[in-house]
Symmetry: C2
Subunit: 364 residues, 2 copies
């Protein structure tokens, strides 16, 4: 999963070979874009590669049956980046397809693993994370938000589920494990199943990066042992990473190679200017032989985040392949798109900040 | 710890040999009755055999410094018995020695391990367990009560502490372990340390049966890793079991050999009549050579629960040793004492039931 092979022809919805291996190895389902009405950018362009138990969600969407979508975030002092945006985009997709929407603030985990105080967690959730989710398209009026530390039902569910997990299973899923990991993943399972306790037994979809699949497997195993009469096993839709502009597999705050939400014009300029592209050794050769958009981080940004219109993306792809555009002007175009994205984002973010006070958090 | 050797001369405060081995093996402190002002019946008669970090508690008592005593119970449909009373008696002792008193209702654990619903747990706590504690001498006006499932600070503390525990430590303390056990013992540790978060950093004493010492060790290990600046390591006072009348090591609800709180006159009669005593083969031999009160379950009941006055107990001991009283009349005496105890208990219990509504449970 770490080679460059994974950046593929944007026009096919083929899944890269490395991911296909992963999918096979872990018993995932291949994602099939044709199954979903009005697929979003990540579905159409194979950022979404896999899933678990997707049929029941497809059925719920098509038959307008009750189901839910759930995600969560660890409140911290660092910002979200474009890589994190994929999950939010998928949440927005399901919300628009009538999913009951749940977003949880993982403050028990951020306190335990990152020593972030509950006050600090609350502050950054209210002042940054939730407005960001809203700015990216989440409708807060149609969303249940909760803090883990305030939701007693989740704590109760975690204890109830604890007798369904075994240490051997932790070992087989995670390799070595420790008590803090055990308790965190039991809590995550309780979070994932909570909507079925809060409302009623119903299917649910969890959008995650494919690296998070072990948590999904564990949650499904535990839910299964409670008896299928109690819970629908949670479904998942799983995406590959947004690569960093320097060519690293994954944007990462800790590696300072991420485009943040929002980011400064200066950082956008610097990051894009030094981005790894699919360019040739010289401009002359590139004009003659064309570039490699499939290997280009700038093109990857267009594809995953900046250019919604398929024809527009297609044109850039062809112009690169035929040597019609060179990396310099293409980078400038990307910078312009990114700056515009950030201006829009900031505007929506400022508006969203005023909407947070109307949210009533679920406490029980 | 399972042989009969442990029933010792009541006049010495020597600790039985088996318990001495346990104390040495697990690095416990021998309990020394002379250190404590106004020692209670269990301290004077070596039901209490050991402890951890007792000096800091003795100092707090003598210098009138702030400290706490804490215990908890699993709410269930079965009743408490005389064996459980030892812990309550020790709690009453420390409450009378000005300890801040905490009693928790382990409803998260009773739900996880015994499938007892939260409603059922609440009902049995309010209608039976708390009135029983009050009837046995706990002053509810001076006690903080809480339900685990309602106390968010305990949940938070449990997560905070989870990063301080290691799986190896669980293995070395408990042998094999499983996720439900890990999460339960992290919760217990959070319970044990909660008063230092609820009020201020202060020493605390946990009265337990000596079989519960592993939990104390784990809690101390975890608290130590938080840094001694954060918590006083919890102290413990540890007692041996109240044997069952049939001679089993330990009264046990599940083995139906317990005198319950309250118990019926019929059950008291039946249990005492068939009790294992230290009598001789025939009345004649016993009149001549005397009995063995040190091996007698009836005498053990006098010693631990029924006869507070040392002179009165001494007289019975001598009368038995010299053959002056035989088992039949002694058993009748024990039955009379037990029936009186139950009458008093029931009267106090009925009164206590009306006091429960005034309790304000700690929720945070």
């Amino acid at each position: 999963m770490t080679s460059k092979k994974e950046f593929i022809d944007p026009w096919s919805s083929d899944i890269p070979e490395d991911y296909l291996e992963t999918i096979k190895k872990f018993g995932l389902e291949k994602f099939n874009v044709k199954d979903f009405p009005n697929p979003n950018i990540h579905m159409r362009r194979a950022t979404v590669v896999a899933g678990r138990d997707l049929k029941i969600i497809i059925k719920a969407i098509k038959e307008k049956k009750k189901y839910y979508a759930l995600t969560g975030f660890m409140p911290s002092s660092s910002k979200l980046h474009l890589g994190n945006k994929v999950t939010v985009d998928n949440m927005v997709y399901f919300q628009n397809q009538n999913a009951k929407t749940y977003i949880l603030i993982a403050d028990l985990e951020s306190n335990a693993t990152r020593k972030i105080s509950y006050e600090q967690a609350k502050k950054s959730a209210l002042e940054y994370f939730i407005p960001t989710y809203i700015a990216l398209g989440i409708d807060h009026k149609k969303t249940f938000f909760y803090f883990q530390s305030e939701n007693k039902k989740v704590t109760k569910l975690m204890f109830e589920l604890s007798s369904r997990a075994t240490l051997n299973e932790y070992r087989s899923i995670y390799g070595n494990t420790e008590p803090n990991r055990i308790i965190s993943s039991l809590l995550q399972t309780a979070d994932i199943l909570f909507p079925q306790v809060h409302e009623e037994k119903m299917p649910g979809i969890i959008p995650v990066g494919i690296d998070q699949d072990p948590h999904i497997r564990l949650s499904r195993d535990i839910a299964r042992r409670e008896g299928e009469n109690k819970f629908f096993l949670p479904s998942a839709i799983e995406h590959k990473f947004t690569p960093a502009l320097d060519g690293s597999l994954k944007m990462s705050k800790s590696k300072a190679n991420a485009i943040e939400l929002p980011d400064t014009d200066e950082n956008i300029e610097t990051s894009v200017r030094k981005a790894l592209t699919g360019g040739r050794e010289t401009a002359e050769i590139q004009r003659k032989k064309g570039g490699f958009p499939d290997k280009c981080m700038v093109f990857e940004l267009y594809k995953q985040h900046l250019i919604e219109d398929d024809n527009e993306l297609n044109a850039i792809y062809k112009d690169c392949k035929t040597g019609k555009i060179l990396c310099g002007s293409c980078k400038q175009n990307c910078i312009d798109h990114l700056k515009k994205f950030m201006r829009d984002f900031k505007e929506k973010f400022e508006k969203a900040k005023h909407q947070v006070s109307s949210i009533k958090f679920v406490e029980d």
